[in-house]
């Protein structure tokens, strides 16, 4: 398996805030990797920087080639990256089918003309989209919008699909449906980088996971190991008051992790 995404020392400044600091991240072809962590950790900023919407420092290599800051969003998409953002960014008044067809714009510009076939594949994956193909996107429910957003990204036949909080605002049953689809996608050769607040759902389908806390990776390891690591819970809900005192200087936190999980340096 080759390394599809190789991030080293990534730092992102968002205005005055250093949102992400010295981040290392790797994803191999065919893997599903999750980035979990509480809100405000910098996950969305990271996604935006990887797709080229935000500037960053450090090195990012995609498929062996470096991604430099002047590579525009369109260029990265041409190379096979795709992002389904937290805010979905659908074209509300346009129909479901139009939204999907627009997903193939980058391939169309590169000369491909097999969009009808790709459209059929997406409809097979999301039958509800086929039912609603003529409806305007803003009439869809939350879960359906998420499906449309994913479907649109898939129309570009990406090699690396990045999703920012796909479970956001979805009922548990729908979350299960959608996450199952990620497994299906992996089998068709799409690698997936998932950023999620919902740690359980994410780790359940992932191969590997990173825990992001306030711009830094504090824990990483195989998904199974992370799922059993109480340090993950602390990440979300803080250390219990007895063991933490914010008002006096703290020694660096000791990670009481299970042996398989690796605390980041």
């Amino acid at each position: 398996m080759s390394r599809l995404l190789d991030v080293r020392g990534l730092s992102i400044n968002h205005g005055k805030v250093e949102a992400v600091r010295g981040l290392d991240l790797h994803l191999d072809e065919g893997q599903i990797v999750s980035l979990i962590g509480p809100n405000g950790a910098g996950k969305t900023t990271l996604m935006a920087a990887l797709i080229g919407l935000l500037p960053s420092t450090g090195s990012v290599a995609y498929d062996g080639q470096p991604l430099l800051h002047h590579h525009s969003v369109a260029q990265r998409i041409d190379r096979g990256m795709a992002l389904v953002p937290e805010s979905r960014e659908l074209f509300g008044p346009m129909s479901v089918e139009d939204n999907l067809r627009l997903g193939a714009f980058s391939r169309h510009r590169q000369g491909f003309r097999d969009h009808n076939k790709t459209l059929d594949e997406v409809f097979a994956l999301f039958p509800r989209m086929h039912e609603r193909r003529a409806q305007a996107a803003y009439t869809l429910s939350g879960g359906e919008r998420q499906m449309l957003a994913i479907g649109r990204a898939l129309m570009a036949k990406p090699r690396l699909l990045m999703l920012d909080e796909p479970s956001l605002g979805l009922a548990p049953r729908v979350i299960g449906e959608i996450f199952q689809i990620f497994e299906t996608l992996r089998q068709t050769g799409v690698s997936i980088l998932l950023v999620e607040q919902n740690a359980r759902a994410a780790l359940k389908i992932s191969d590997y996971g990173y825990v992001l806390e306030i711009g830094e990776i504090v824990l990483e390891g195989s998904a199974q190991a992370l799922a059993q690591n109480p340090r993950v819970v602390e990440s979300y809900l803080g250390r219990k008051p007895a063991s933490a005192d914010l008002l006096t200087p703290q020694p660096p936190s000791a990670t009481a992790g299970a042996p398989i999980a690796t605390p980041a340096a």
């Binding site: 805030v17 405000g40 956001l168 919902n198 809900l237 008002l247």
Partner: protein, 588 residues
């Protein structure tokens, strides 16, 4: 004070000497520059500082000119009555237009100014009695105490006096409480309302001031030219005024003069030089201007004056108010543990989406309450309901027993509730002291006129002393005169808290105060909040940083899907299985 007066004296001196020294033609040019500067001053205030772009100022110049033209030629009245009439009509029309159009959002406002600017221009050309497009001729001279102001040289001093007085008044205004309020209008109107500032009234005041200045310029112009026709009051001229301030320095008073001078002189040079080179010049002048403005907007968006100023040494900071001003009256603090804010059964819908459903919350004095929940839980919506930015569809909110749901942020602020913002909303160019003093806005009373005439110094000293006190209280005394934008984020957040404290609140609402802070900054923030708790204030914070929240709060409320999931002490929350499921996620 003398530092500000010196350039004004120099200007008057220059205006007095110039006609003796310069050839007549240059004196005429100077007069025009002066007249344009008057209009540009108003535009700097209105567009550069308060953020309202107007293409229609030339119409107000026209009103001033035509009012005096009609009254002096057709009714034989004194030019001073013409001035009075012009100013009155301007006031009436400006107030009407202001009330109608200033509420236009974003880019609709300049389009609106274009509309009425054009309408007024065509009225000038078509109303009977105004002489049509030929205009009115033979205006009489202005007389001041027996002195006939007849030729250009006489006018120079008069125009200079008008200019100097206007700059002095506006400068006073900008350095007062009202001036601080005006400076929020461009980008932070929402924050201003939360500080108790009536932004709609402020905008109208600025609009009227700009209109009055333009009208004064029109009056002077009419008696200088002694002929009035519609051409100089067209929208084209209105656009030129905008160009002046863009070139000169869009947000500085002296930039108005610089821009007016630059535009006039460059036009003149082009008209002199180009015929010799090309045989005719008009078209090149236009091309040149267009290109110049484009370049300035691409590379020096604030205008040329800031570029020039950057080359000069930085001015010394203003001295502190040394007189011990009397302390401002404070609100009586209710006993610790007494309920301050109570929300019951709040519902908020956005179309089909129910953002808050049956939310209840209580904040007591002398306690820190935290509102937490996963992304999309409805915390921001609840926060906006409590601070008055949104009104609930159902339910009620009371503060010290009084209903506040549906009240404006301004009214809520006045009752003793104060807030900070998720993305820091300070005015980066203003000093920390002035930013914090904004918080005390509703504790002052000085109106527009008093501020312009520099008569509110006592109250201003009291406000600044209070602001200084709060800045010392939060530990930032070293940064009193530093521009707020140059501080690191952690300190900016603390400045916001100082500003919130400056309104003498009983309850402080903090919106993600720890977001983006480093560990040391969070420690400092936590210590500050502890201190506020000790002093009996109530604190409600929305936060994502669990470490911070768990260590600091007395009471935590957890939200999920718009509803209250759990509430209790930090330990209770951390051990609540429903909360764990909400955060870490559940799947079926």
């Amino acid at each position: 004070m003398t530092r500000r007066l010196l350039p004004l004296f120099l200007l008057l001196l220059a205006a007095g000497l110039a006609p003796q020294v310069l050839p007549a033609f240059h004196v005429t040019l100077l007069n025009y520059i002066g007249l344009y500067s008057l209009v540009a001053l108003g535009l700097v205030l209105m567009t550069g500082i308060a953020g309202m772009t107007s293409f229609g100022q030339a119409a107000f110049v026209g009103i001033g000119a035509y009012a005096t033209a009609v009254l002096t030629t057709q009714y034989g009245l004194s030019p001073w009555l013409g001035l009075l009439a012009g100013l009155t009509i301007t006031l009436v029309i400006a107030t009407t237009l202001g009330l109608l159009t200033l509420r236009l959002a974003g880019h609709y406002l300049p389009i609106g100014t274009l509309a009425w600017g054009l309408a007024l221009f065509y009225l000038f050309g078509n109303l009977p009695g105004l002489g049509g497009f030929g205009g009115i001729q033979n205006l009489p001279d202005i007389r001041i105490l027996g002195w006939d102001i007849r030729n250009d040289a006489d006018f120079t001093l008069v125009i200079a006096v008008a200019l100097v007085v206007s700059i002095w008044l506006l400068d006073n205004l900008l350095h007062s409480r009202q001036g601080r309020a005006i400076r929020t209008l461009k980008e932070s109107a929402g924050m201003a309302e939360a500080m108790g500032i009536n932004t709609a009234r402020s905008r109208l005041q600025v609009f009227i001031i700009a209109a009055v200045l333009a009208s004064l310029s029109g009056w002077l112009y009419a008696h200088l030219q002694r002929v009035v026709n519609p051409t100089p009051f067209s929208v084209v001229m209105g656009i030129e005024y905008l160009f002046m301030i863009v070139l000169g320095g869009v947000a500085s008073l002296w930039g108005a003069l610089l821009g007016a001078a630059l535009l006039t002189l460059i036009k003149q040079v082009l008209q002199d030089v180009l015929p010799q080179v090309f045989g005719h010049s008009d078209n090149f002048e236009m091309i040149f201007f267009g290109v110049l403005v484009i370049l300035v907007l691409q590379y020096a968006r604030g205008g040329l004056l800031p570029v020039l100023r950057a080359c000069l040494p930085a001015p010394r900071p203003q001295p502190l108010p040394t007189a011990k001003a009397p302390a401002l009256p404070k609100r009586p603090v209710p006993p610790r543990g007494a309920p301050l804010l109570e929300a019951e059964g709040l519902v908020k819908r956005f179309g089909g989406l129910v953002a808050n459903k049956d939310m209840s919350l209580k904040v007591n004095g002398g306690e820190i309450t935290a509102l937490i929940g996963p992304n999309g839980a409805g915390k921001s919506t609840l926060f906006n309901l409590l601070s008055g930015v949104l009104a609930p569809n159902d339910g009620k909110i009371t503060f010290l027993g009084q209903r506040i749901d549906g009240l404006s942020p301004r009214a809520i602020a006045r009752l003793g509730v104060s807030r900070t913002f998720q993305h820091v909303r300070l005015l980066p160019e203003m000093s920390v002291l002035e930013n914090v003093a904004l918080g005390a806005h509703s504790r002052g009373k000085a109106g527009l006129l008093r501020s312009m005439l520099h008569l509110e110094r006592g109250e201003e000293a009291a406000l600044l002393t209070e602001a200084t006190r709060q800045i010392e209280r939060v530990g930032l005394a070293d940064y009193l005169h530093t521009p707020a934008g140059s501080l690191p984020l952690g300190q900016q957040r603390i400045v916001e808290i100082a500003r919130a404290l400056c309104s003498d609140p009983l309850l402080v609402l903090l919106d993600e105060p720890a977001a983006g802070l480093r560990y040391g900054e969070k420690q400092a923030l936590a210590q500050l909040l502890e201190q506020l708790r000790r002093e009996g204030l109530g604190v409600l914070l929305v936060e994502h940083d669990m470490e911070f929240v768990m260590a600091l709060s007395d009471h935590i409320v957890v939200m999920e899907f718009g509803q209250r999931l759990a509430s209790g002490t930090p330990l209770e929350i951390q051990e609540n299985p429903a909360v764990l499921a909400a955060y870490l996620g559940g799947i079926e």
